[in-house]
Symmetry: C2
Subunit: 339 residues, 2 copies
């Protein structure tokens, strides 16, 4: 392995000087600096980061903890984080938590002992950040808040935009609107359902019929089960508000099975459907700011890594509630940002 000692010998300087040239923390005479660079190039020198990190007790790795990288929403968020991180000289360590607090905690141990420079976390219900905070590893939450902790957080404006989307269904003439949302305790699921309930209350003057608000895991399979349940009700809904992209896909699939595609039954998919080719007319797709969530979270984390000591900040990003356009129009939008 080529070390700074080899470079130093070749360049005729001391190892300390080589280090100074590469870390740039002190002044080195131009002639020597050139000699060092030349020697480094000739020897194809790559500094050993472990040695550097041991000494400086720092690292250039950000842990990105998401429930499931296969969900295009999180894929896009991760991609955005990686872009910002790379720009700033950081690498991204990918951690799938599977929405499982135990797994999340295991990863947190790894992150702390690594130690990583910081963590961007989509918290699972029951998340525990004690370890990271004790060890003062900065944490930024994205998409959801971490219950019981005061850390920087970036979320989408779930409740208001869910209400808006639901109102659009009423505007389109639907009257009995159901909601399929995610698990109890998952913030996005709860907020979106709350938004739906708010719009229903506004429109009907009464809280929604409890059997129209139903929960499922954020998967296509479980979503289908839930939508079937809804459509099998004695008084089935004439429109469905689906609280994420998986559930939106599930709704469309069940409705397709039964020949009830929009506009027969109205559908809102909260979150884009990537690569969707031929969306039926009358599907309303809202555009979650996945990329912006990632960018913003990464930027805030970098600020913390650079020593920012302000109290915890909370940012809420707007959700674009797309107009109820033609299938093709919406396809293009969904495609463009590939949410």
């Amino acid at each position: 392995m080529v070390t700074i000692y080899d470079v130093a010998k070749r360049a005729g300087v001391s190892p300390a000087t080589v280090s100074r040239v590469f870390s740039g923390h002190a002044n080195v005479a131009q002639a020597r600096a050139d000699a060092v660079h030349e020697a480094a190039r000739e020897l194809d020198f790559v500094p050993n980061r472990n040695a550097r990190r041991l000494r400086t007790n720092s690292s250039e790795i950000i842990a990105m903890m998401v429930p499931d990288i296969e969900n295009p929403f999180f894929t896009l968020m991760t991609r955005a984080v990686e872009d910002v991180a790379r720009e700033a000289g950081f690498s991204v360590m990918l951690c799938n938590t599977n929405e499982d607090p135990v797994r999340e905690h295991e990863y947190m141990r790894v992150a702390v002992s690594e130690p990583v420079a910081g963590v961007i976390l989509v918290p699972s219900p029951g998340t525990n950040l004690d370890l990271a905070l004790e060890r003062s590893v900065p944490v930024v939450c994205a998409d959801r808040h971490a219950l019981g902790y005061e850390v920087d957080t970036v979320v989408a404006d779930n409740k208001d935009s869910s209400a808006s989307a639901t109102r659009l269904l009423y505007d389109a003439g639907y009257e009995r609107i159901a909601c399929v949302t995610g698990p109890d305790g998952v913030e996005t699921a709860d907020m979106r359902m709350a938004g739906w309930a708010l719009a229903v209350q506004e429109h009907t003057g009464a809280p929604p019929d409890p059997c129209l608000g139903i929960r499922a895991a954020y998967t296509v399979e479980d979503g289908e089960r839930a939508v079937r349940l809804l459509m099998d009700l004695p008084q089935p809904p004439d429109a469905i508000f689906a609280a994420n992209n998986r559930l939106g896909a599930a709704a469309l699939r069940v409705l397709n099975e039964r020949g009830l595609l929009p506009p027969t039954v109205g559908v809102v998919s909260f979150g884009g459907l990537p690569l969707i080719l031929l969306a039926p007319l009358g599907v309303l797709i809202t555009h979650l700011p996945a990329r912006e969530l990632g960018h913003q979270a990464a930027r805030m984390l970098l600020e913390r890594i650079n020593g920012l000591a302000a109290p915890a900040r909370s940012v809420t990003l707007p959700v674009v509630v797309g107009g109820e356009g033609s299938g093709i129009d919406m396809i293009y939008k969904a495609q463009g940002s590939a949410e």
Copy 2:
């Protein structure tokens, strides 16, 4: 920071013994080991991985370099790698190369200087592995070979299955089959086009009409441009073999624009279309073994990390060329594996 010296002092042993207890490489008397564990617990000791790595010159990080994590094919591959890696106690560092050899090389520098335990690489054309091989960082290529290097490689059976898929179009009665493939020099693009050409030659007894074989970047936008070109030919094709999922989506979108959806014009999408909801009848989707590619690559890499010194191995995984079923059938297949 709590170090092994603190633990040693408290447990009344030497730092060497503490190290032995934690790394488990040598025997320590039970009584002392207990004392060490107890002291470690009391002090809440977490070993510093940087120090360990510096000494052992190893790490528990695998670099995963893919062209674009947003392509569901690579997302799934990455997920599979992460699953295997986690099982074995490794973490995954995510690197988007953007199909750009310069960016790939930058990441390779990071990986080498990290240094990571190994690299799983989807090579860009013009990839350069010298750095990694010099530094004896194990590399496994996935999805494509690295031109000019002898390293472990896992690929899909692109040529044969492209030929099979093309034959299915002939069987369905299409006669003038075009091919939209990826950039020149990208192995998957070349092999898939070769498979298409082979089937055309077999069927017509002559090499394919050159203007029917067209190249595009592996993006929806550029794919649309290419497909438009094809459909604007004086003698347009009556079927399209699209060499990856993005190009498949592009083909369907252009055909939809023009009212020529299958079965009017036949389509093969080589690679699944995730979350596709309402595939038109007559779209043939082949299922790339993304998950298996990832699993296999990760397993082979772990073997190398553990010191395996055999000559480079090459594994080819089969591609399932789905039957031309009803839209819904295919939807379920595409969904299930979310390629």
